[in-house]
């Protein structure tokens, strides 16, 4: 069943820059859609448009989520939806966490924004979520502040916060880009497990083809605001049809396979 359907999405900023240009997306419940592209390809703007977070831009097109047209909703209804049904994890967890409050308080706050429960109950939910995302000693760690956590632990907190309301859709915008590779492996493993357990659909936005290959079912390759190629991951990775996709796959030096003397580059020089 289609959970998210985007049709002919256009986003134009006041400066006249067209960040997204006639984009279609489809994401089924419980599946993972990878949205890949280089910086400026419009992948993050797309996610913000889905969440209704682009106030200064002209957004047109259809964004249908679980049968509802999001572009027709007012801010209040959108706010009810955000966090509860659609949650988001950003690249830099430190700038998303409030340094003045304990991590458990912030998870509980997100929970209480949508549930009429007492502080104690919400705190219990927060501790449970910290445990689920693999934070050791969750009872004790719950009282810690963001600065006491490492980058990987902070990203786990963000994921705990996003998943505490059991959303249908998790939008993860470069969730591992700021992390070291061994910590990235931990977070990707966590997302794989959570996805299996909770059945949450994930829209995974990244520039890293490897991250998409390890997590996504379908992939959309974006370039200059348009989808240049889409399909099941196996098809797109093994039989890319578009030269841009082929270039994107070939220009990244790999740790396995033959070593080319020169890396292919994508058209124009720098």
């Amino acid at each position: 069943m289609s959970l998210l359907t985007v049709r002919d999405l256009n986003v134009e900023f006041r400066s006249g820059v067209r960040a997204v240009d006639g984009l279609d997306l489809d994401l089924d419940a419980g599946r993972v859609l990878g949205v890949v592209g280089e910086s400026g390809s419009g992948k993050s703007v797309t996610s913000l448009a889905v969440l209704g977070l682009l106030r200064d831009a002209r957004v047109s097109g259809e964004i249908r989520f679980a049968g509802r047209e999001l572009t027709a909703l007012d801010q209040r209804s959108l706010r009810r939806l955000r966090g509860d049904r659609i949650a988001m994890v950003f690249q830099d967890p430190l700038s998303c966490l409030n340094p003045y409050y304990s991590v458990a308080f912030q998870i509980a706050e997100a929970y209480r924004a949508h549930h009429r429960t007492g502080r104690r109950q919400a705190h219990r939910v927060a501790v449970h979520m910290l445990d689920r995302v693999g934070i050791p000693e969750p009872e004790r760690r719950a009282r810690c502040y963001p600065h006491e956590f490492s980058g990987g632990m902070r990203q786990r907190v963000m994921i705990a916060m996003a998943l505490c309301l059991e959303p249908d859709l998790l939008i993860a915008d470069e969730p591992t880009t700021a992390l070291d590779v061994t910590v990235q492996a931990q977070i990707l493993q966590l997302l794989r497990e959570l996805r299996k357990e909770s059945g949450t659909a994930i829209m995974l936005i990244t520039h890293d083809m490897g991250v998409v290959a390890g997590l996504a079912d379908h992939v959309v390759v974006m370039h200059q605001g348009r989808a240049v190629e889409r399909g099941p991951v196996r098809d797109v990775f093994h039989r890319p049809q578009q030269p841009y996709t082929r270039g994107l796959l070939a220009c990244v030096p790999r740790i396995d396979g033959p070593l080319p003397d020169r890396l292919p580059t994508l058209g124009a020089t720098t």
Binding site: S150, V183, Q189, L263, L266, T269
Partner: protein, 320 residues
């Protein structure tokens, strides 16, 4: 060898936040030895905080080592002062990670490229246009300012500046990690071309194992201030001997869904320990899949286990 560093140690004082009194020290680099031969590229990899950038600053003498020696072009750079270092810097240059913050925004490219000559008290023997041509930029770029360039172009300017004095060794500290993937490929190609043309040696520092594999002849892996493994490029990727190297390689996502689904993953638990309070014995033992009493009791030294391969582990993986 062109460059021979032995037992480099760098300690930074750690001060109390309020009193500014010294509360201890942090050992960022703890006994690093490495060699770079003529025309060779030594890749230095490790995660953030492992001390790889501090090594770069020590070798280029932007920082003074606490102890150890750096033999380069027949001299020990470790104790030299700035005046004595000046002639050495003609042969030893650096390319930085962030191309914009390493270029003066008020200077034109021409002024930036004249900088190395000015520092040496020389007249520029290469006009800016010539240097720009070497890195694939156009002559008319010489009179523009850094903000008029893309990230990849700015990094080319940084490389042109490093080449101005015809150095023997260029230390590149994460030269492509701030760039988009397609631009990374262009800069990596450029670095290879320049190496061939001018017989340069590189110390290439990066956290991206793919980029390091592409450009290096030999590779050293750092963890928490020390080198844990060195090997020839192909040997390291085919048969990593140190458990950390193994975990690092297995953590890199492969752009192939079938390989990703079937590969064996070694997911390390926990985070990098704080270098303020490193674990005793082997520093990797807190995250190692197979530590025992010996690892807790005794810190493994870097020892040669095969020709061209050194490992600091009591129980290295067997290599053919």
């Amino acid at each position: 060898m062109l460059l021979e560093a032995r037992n480099l140690v760098k300690r930074f004082p750690v001060r109390h936040a309020l009193t500014r009194r010294q509360a201890g020290h942090i050992t960022a680099v703890d006994g690093v030895s490495l060699d770079v031969g003529p025309g060779e590229t030594l890749g230095l990899v490790g995660e953030s905080g492992c001390g790889k950038s501090t090594v770069a600053k020590l070798l280029t003498r932007l920082e003074r080592p606490t102890s150890g020696s750096i033999h380069f072009a027949g001299r020990d750079l470790a104790g030299l002062d700035e005046t004595a270092l000046r002639p050495v810097r003609r042969d030893l240059q650096m390319v930085f990670q962030d191309p914009f913050s390493s270029l003066n925004p008020r200077h034109t490219v021409r002024q930036i490229l004249a900088g190395p000559y000015r520092y040496q008290g020389l007249e520029p023997d290469q006009p800016a246009e010539e240097l720009l041509a070497r890195v694939g930029l156009r002559p008319e770029h010489a009179d523009r300012h850094p903000h008029e360039f893309s990230g990849g172009q700015a990094q080319r300017i940084g490389i042109a500046r490093a080449l101005a004095l015809n150095p023997k060794l260029v230390v590149c500290d994460e030269p492509v990690s701030a760039l988009d993937v397609s631009v990374q490929a262009q800069i990596l190609n450029l670095l290879r071309d320049l190496q061939e043309q001018y017989g340069l040696s590189y110390l290439f520092i990066a956290h991206d194992l793919g980029a390091v594999r592409h450009i290096s002849t030999r590779i050293a892996v750092m963890y928490l201030g020390s080198i844990v493994e060195t090997a020839d490029r192909d040997a390291l990727f085919a048969h990593p001997a140190h458990p950390y190297t193994r975990a690092l390689l297995s953590a890199v996502p492969l752009p192939d869904p079938d390989l990703e689904a079937s590969r064996e993953r070694i997911v390390l638990h926990g985070d990098l320990p704080s270098p303020l309070d490193p674990p005793g014995g082997c520093r990797f033992r807190t995250r190692c899949p197979k530590p025992d009493e010996l690892c807790a009791a005794e810190r493994p030294r870097l020892r040669t286990i095969a020709p061209g391969r050194q490992v600091a582990c009591h129980y290295p993986e067997r290599t053919p």
